[in-house]
C-alpha cells in the first residue's frame, strides 16, 4: 500500500502549486511531484491582435514579473520590424531593467528565502516569514527594505510612465526620453541601490555563511544536481540580463553552445509528461533522457545560479569580487547546489545596482532621440531577456499588417521545470523516512524548489488569508487517511 501526501498550496511560492508525495510500503518516498495549474488560451487570445500590443498584453498576464515580459516583448518587436533602437533608448531600457532586478531580487531575499536562511528551515512555522526575518535582523532594516523598494518603484514609474499598463517599449525604441533634470534622481537612487545590495550580501555573509549548519544544508547532496546551465552573456561572456547571446555550459562547466536569439529552436525543445500541465524544456543538443542529471541528460537550469555558471564572471567590479568569493567558498565552478541560488541572486542584485549606477551617469541617457521608426514589413521576431527567474523567450509571427498569426512564449519557470522536478523528488526522498513527515521536513522539501524562485503566477490575489496548507495522506486506493491542516 502506498500513501500519498499533498502539500497544497505551496507557501511563499509565487503563483499556485502543490506537491504530491507518494509513499511506498516501507514509509519512504516512492515519487514526489510538483503540480502547477496551467494558464490556458494565450495563443488563441494573441491571434489577430496587433504585435505592438504584445508587450502590454503579456505584462498584464503576469503580475509577478511584468517588466520582464514587457522587455522580452519589446525586443521581439525590434526583431519583427528589423529595427534597432537608438543608443539612448537601448540604454534606458537596460537601466529600467536593472532597477527592476534590484527590487525583484531584494524581495525574494527578504520575503521568500530570508525565512529559510535567516530565521531557519526548522524554526516554528509561525516565525518563518518576513516578520521572523525582521525579528532577527532588526526593525530598522525592515524600514530600509520597504523604503528602498518604494524609491525604486517610483523611479520606474518616472521613467516608464504612470499608467497602470505603461506603453514604454516600442519597436525601435521607447515612448519618451528621460528629462535632464531627472538624471540626478536616478544617480541618487543608484547609490542607494548599490549600498542596499552590499548590505544584503553582508547579511547573507553574517547570518548564513558563518553558520556551519546552513552551509551543510546548502552543500548537502539532497539539494544537488549536476545539470547543464543556461544564461545570457555579453561579448566577454559576462552575465547580462538585457541583451546578448545565450550560452549553455555542461555539468563540468565547458561551453556546449552559444546561440543568437533567433536560433533558440535549434537548441531548446519541450517534453510533456502525463502527470503535469507543465512542459519541460530540455536541450535538443543532448536529448531527453528522463528525469536524470549528468552529461547524458538534456535537463538544464536557468536563473541566478545557472547564469553565474554559464558565464565567465560579472561585468562590474564589486559583483565580480563577490562572484570570485562565491566560487571559492563553494569549491570551484560550476556550483551544483540548488540552494546556492539564494547567494547567486544577491551577487546578481549587486551587479544590477552597479550597472544601474553606470547607466545613470551615462550622458547618453538624456539624449531625446529614443525612437527609430520601423520601415520593414513584419514577418517573424524573437526577443529574449533574462527574467529574474531565468531565460524568457517571446516569439511572434505576423501577417504583413503586423497582426499576430502565431505567438509562442517559453517562460523561465518552464525552462527550469525539469530540474525543479528533480529537486522536489530528490529532497523528498532524502528527507522523508519511515513515513515520518513533520512541518520542518515539509518546509525543507519546499526549500528545494523555492530556491529557484519559480513563478507560476497568473491570477492576482491578495486573498485568501486563511487558506491553510493542507497535508493529506491517501492510501493506494486514494482513500483519505489523514487530513492535517497547517494553520
Amino acid at each position: 500500500m502506498s500513501d500519498r501526501i499533498v502539500i497544497d498550496p505551496i507557501t511563499r511560492l509565487e503563483g499556485h502549486g502543490k506537491i504530491d508525495i507518494i509513499l511506498n510500503d516501507s514509509g519512504g518516498v516512492d515519487r514526489a511531484y510538483l503540480q502547477v495549474p496551467e494558464l490556458r488560451g494565450f495563443e488563441r487570445f494573441a491571434q489577430g491582435r496587433p504585435a505592438e500590443d504584445m508587450p502590454q498584453i503579456t505584462s498584464r498576464i503576469c503580475g509577478v514579473c511584468p517588466t520582464a515580459h514587457h522587455m522580452a516583448g519589446t525586443k521581439a518587436l525590434d526583431d519583427l520590424y528589423k529595427v534597432d533602437p537608438p543608443p539612448a533608448a537601448r540604454k534606458i531600457r537596460e537601466l529600467v531593467y536593472n532597477i527592476f532586478y534590484v527590487e525583484d531580487h531584494a524581495l525574494h531575499f527578504f520575503y521568500l528565502a530570508g525565512p529559510d536562511f535567516v530565521v531557519g528551515p526548522k524554526a516554528p512555522k509561525a516565525e518563518r516569514n518576513i516578520l521572523g526575518v525582521l525579528g532577527k535582523v532588526g526593525q530598522e532594516i525592515g524600514l530600509k527594505v520597504i523604503g528602498t523598494r518604494r524609491q525604486l518603484r517610483e523611479l520606474m514609474t518616472m521613467i516608464m510612465g504612470k499608467a497602470i499598463h505603461p506603453v514604454f517599449g516600442l519597436p525601435g525604441g521607447i515612448s519618451k526620453p528621460i528629462a535632464k533634470e531627472d538624471q540626478q534622481k536616478i544617480i541618487d537612487a543608484a547609490d542607494v541601490a548599490v549600498e542596499f545590495a552590499q548590505f544584503s550580501l553582508k547579511i547573507f555573509n553574517d547570518v548564513v555563511l558563518s553558520n556551519p549548519k546552513y552551509m551543510e544544508y546548502i552543500t548537502s547532496d539532497i539539494y544537488t544536481h549536476k545539470t547543464y546551465y543556461m544564461g545570457m552573456v555579453d561579448q566577454n561572456n559576462k552575465v547580462n540580463f538585457y541583451d546578448g547571446p545565450i550560452r549553455v555550459v555542461d555539468p563540468d562547466g565547458k561551453e556546449l553552445c552559444k546561440f543568437p536569439h533567433g536560433k533558440y529552436l535549434d537548441h531548446v525543445a519541450e517534453h510533456v509528461e502525463p502527470w503535469s500541465y507543465m512542459r519541460f524544456s530540455y536541450l535538443k543538443d543532448i536529448g531527453w533522457n528522463g528525469f536524470n542529471d549528468g552529461p547524458g541528460s538534456g535537463i538544464f537550469a536557468v536563473a541566478p545560479l545557472a547564469r553565474l555558471n554559464a558565464s565567465d564572471g560579472m561585468a562590474t567590479p564589486l559583483a565580480q569580487e563577490a562572484y570570485e568569493q562565491f566560487y571559492k567558498a563553494c569549491g570551484g565552478k560550476p556550483v551544483h547546489f540548488t540552494l546556492a541560488n539564494s547567494w547567486a541572486r544577491l551577487i546578481e542584485m549587486l551587479y544590477s545596482a552597479e550597472r544601474m549606477k553606470e547607466l545613470a551617469h551615462d550622458p547618453e541617457i538624456v539624449n531625446p532621440k529614443v525612437h527609430n521608426i520601423p520601415t520593414e514589413k513584419p514577418v517573424e521576431g524573437v526577443g529574449i531577456v533574462e527574467a529574474p527567474r531565468g531565460t524568457l523567450i517571446h516569439h511572434y509571427q505576423t501577417d504583413e499588417k503586423g497582426l499576430i498569426t502565431k505567438a509562442n512564449l517559453i517562460v523561465a519557470t518552464q525552462n527550469n521545470s525539469a530540474r525543479i522536478a528533480l529537486s522536489v523528488d530528490k529532497a523528498a526522498r532524502g528527507l522523508i523516512k519511515n513515513g515520518q513527515v513533520d512541518d520542518g521536513i515539509l518546509n525543507m522539501v519546499e526549500m528545494a524548489f523555492r530556491a529557484y524562485d519559480p513563478c507560476h503566477g497568473c491570477a492576482t490575489h491578495a486573498l485568501p488569508g486563511q487558506m491553510p496548507l493542507s497535508v493529506r495522506v491517501f492510501d493506494s486506493q486514494h482513500n483519505l487517511l489523514k487530513d492535517i491542516r497547517r494553520r
Binding site: 496551467e38 488560451g41 487570445f45 491570477a459 490575489h461 486573498l463
Partner: protein, 157 residues
Amino acid sequence: MKPLILCLGNDLLGDDGIGIRAAEKLQTMLDGQADVVATSMHGVALLDLLVGYKRVIIIDAIQMSGFPPGSVIELELGDLRTVQSPSPHYTGLPELILLAEQMQLDFPEEIKIFAVEIDDPYTVGREMSMAVSKSLQKLIPCVMAYIDWWQNGTYHA
C-alpha cells in the same frame, strides 16, 4: 479624509477581472466620495497603496470559500489576521498588515474586505461567467452602503 476602495484582479483572466469591473462601476457612481484604485499588483506592492488611508475597502476574487461562483463574501480583518496562513504571492494581506503594524507605518485603522468566489482564473481572454458578472448587483450596493456609512453616518442597505 476619503476612504480608499482597492480593487484587485486581472481583466485578462475571465472571472479574475471582477474587481476591475467593480472599480469601473464604482468610479462612475461614487462622485468623488472615495478614491478608487484598480490594480493587478499584489503582495508588498499593495503596501504603497494602502499607507496613508484611514479606511479601506478591498475587493478581490477568491477561489476556495466553499460557496458557489458569484457569491459575495464579506470578511473582517480578524478573519485573515493570522500570519501563518500562506498566500499565493510574495506576501498575503494578513502578513502585510502585521508587517505594517510592526513597522509602525501609517496603515488603515479599518479594512473591510469583499471577496467574490470565482470559477476559472486560468484561461487568458475568457469571458467573465454569468454568475460572477451578476455578483456586481450584490457587491456594489454593499460597498456603496459602507461608503455612505463612513462618509455620512447614514446606512441604506
